[in-house]
Amino acid sequence: MIVRGSVMVLRQTLVRLRFLLWDQRVGNPEPAVEVDGLIRRFGSFTAVDGVSFAVETGELFGFLGPNGAGKTTTISILCTLLRPTAGTARVAGCDVVKQQGLVRSRIGLVFQETTLDDYLTGSENLRFHAVLYGVPPREVRDRAQPLLEMVGLASRADHQVRFYSGGMKRRLEIARGLLHAPRVLFLDEPTIGLDPQTRVHIWEYVDTLRQRELTTMFLTTHYMDEAERCDRIAIIDGGKIVAIDTPAALKASVGTDIVTLLTNDDAAARAQVRRVFGIDGDLTPEGLRLDVRDGEAFVPRVFEHLTVGVQNVNVRRPSLDDVFLKYTGRGIRDADQDAVAQSKARMGAMARRG
């Protein structure tokens, strides 16, 4: 296990090194995604309000934000499905407005909703995709089989997609999104509504592929653990980028630790803490929540002054959820529940229609 692990790491380093050298020979590496002053209005409503950022080649870039924050609009512009009102965006080295066709052939898309043909088999769906993207049949033969094996669908490739489970469909879509070796793969909520085990598997595949193909990944998600995997994260709210950095730096930017005290009388404890330390706590079902600098040092001090009995103490560093809360005023999970509810409503509507 250890040997295999270190071989993997070594291999990954070598691939990256080779890629770096190769790129340097060619010249200054261009960012995979480069957005400058992007604006999109719908009538009087401004969905995207002057967004600028860049994604480096090979990066796993997380794009987070509450529903209606301008996330989908931005992605639609990057995928050439929507024209910007103002500003520019370059994806895989091409302008999304002036070189629409080139951008399209260099990106891969995995949407929230499945876009497979149910009456075609898994491998027919792949072949159809290859035709649309001009991948010659010989190359398809070389690529389709390994990709199917990687997502664990090789044995089901000749079954019609309507007999697949939700997780299998999603894995097939990821394989399909990579079939034409895109430089940038857009993953819009790729694991929404899937069970935890399937999500873990899908992420294993995505990581493997990232190491292998050095594809830049542009991800939107409502799952904190998925956001945690990103090299960098941008948080968009109200059409503007409110924060952009590595997950670690974003968490550090919160500045405080979270101390949770479960006491015999949380309300009394809250009043005492406010009087002595001047800190306003929040009453939560888990107990009294206090945002303080250096939580470990704070705990003994708070114990000196509290007269109510303490049952449980918890000190933790800020999570990405806290980061999200700080910059948008909402938790990631709140947004997630909205999204799941939406997707359920959509499925229900489809079932009724079908």
């Binding site: 499905l81 009456y119 159809f128 190359e139």
Partner: protein
């Protein structure tokens, strides 16, 4: 599991870009693939073939038998009503399944596959053309299956007239699917489908001369029939299958069959052009 699968997997990195085909070849193969997809889907949904046959056969044998004695031999030169009805029913089946095939675009939109096609780096024209060819072929398959009943009702089809009819069926199917794509291009929901059936398909069938002869119609109806693009292939197919049928006239002069072919082709090309235009502006 993933690492297991990894060993032995050899895929290129971005350092060695994938070879791609040029745009012309890509668009042509896309048209072909979109067309083939229609036939694959037809083969995998046999119920569609059966229900596609049920309606025309019901019309032919029930309506035909029921009205045969009422109409007597007045339908046309020496044919009974069932025989008169037969070519009309074949054309009707083309009309129905052609329009249905085109409407499947709305189905694709609903289930997402349309999006897979629309975000790809191919021209909308190659998608629409593929749909017209594929949908047209599906319609012709359905129409040709009906020819089996010809001997039962006493219609003699020579090999020559069979192929002439086949040609017209292809032409008509192509025109009708293109027309259907124009109708479907702006349709967002399957619910609109009922409306299309009631407001487009049924009037087109009834006013095409497929069910009754158009010679002795009131004048205003006769005018509408001549504005219905489906009337011309219906008339041509009837004259091929039942030689000696009276045929459509405009201003008192009989239309030659080749001019009816031209009208159908012209209508089809106009609709195809319009369909491509409409589709280029949807997202």
């Amino acid at each position: 599991m993933a690492t297991e699968a990894l060993r032995g997997v050899q895929t290129p990195t971005t350092a060695e870009p994938l070879r791609r085909e040029g745009p012309l070849r890509r668009n042509l193969t896309t048209t072909w693939m979109v067309a083939v997809r229609e036939l694959i889907r037809l083969r995998r949904t046999p119920s569609r073939i059966i229900s596609g046959l049920a309606q025309p056969l019901l019309f032919l044998f029930v309506l035909g038998a029921g009205l045969k004695n009422v109409v007597g031999q007045n339908a046309g030169a020496g044919f009974d009503y069932i025989q008169f009805l037969f070519p009309g029913i074949v054309a009707m089946s083309i009309l129905t399944s052609g329009l249905m095939a085109a409407i499947s675009i709305v189905w694709d939109r609903e289930w997402g596959f349309l999006r897979e096609m629309l975000v790809a780096p191919v021209s909308r024209a190659s998608l629409v053309l593929g749909k017209a060819i594929g949908g047209g072929s599906v319609a012709v398959v359905q129409g040709v299956l009906l020819v089996v009943v010809a001997p039962i009702i006493g219609v003699d089809l020579s090999v020559g007239s069979f192929f002439a009819m086949l040609g017209f069926l292809l032409l008509m199917a192509f025109a009708l699917v293109s027309f259907g794509v124009v109708v479907a291009a702006r349709m967002q929901r399957l619910e609109s489908f009922q409306m299309v059936m009631a407001l487009v398909l049924q009037p087109m069938i009834f006013l095409s001369g497929a069910i009754f002869p158009v010679r002795r119609l009131p004048e205003w109806l006769g005018v509408i029939v001549r504005f219905n693009p489906a009337s011309y292939p219906v008339d041509a197919i009837r004259r091929i299958v039942l030689p000696g049928s009276p045929g459509l006239t405009i201003g008192g002069s009989l239309l030659p069959i080749w001019s009816e072919a031209l009208i159908t082709l012209g209508f089809g090309l106009a609709m195809l052009t319009l369909a491509v235009r409409l589709f280029s502006h949807t997202d």
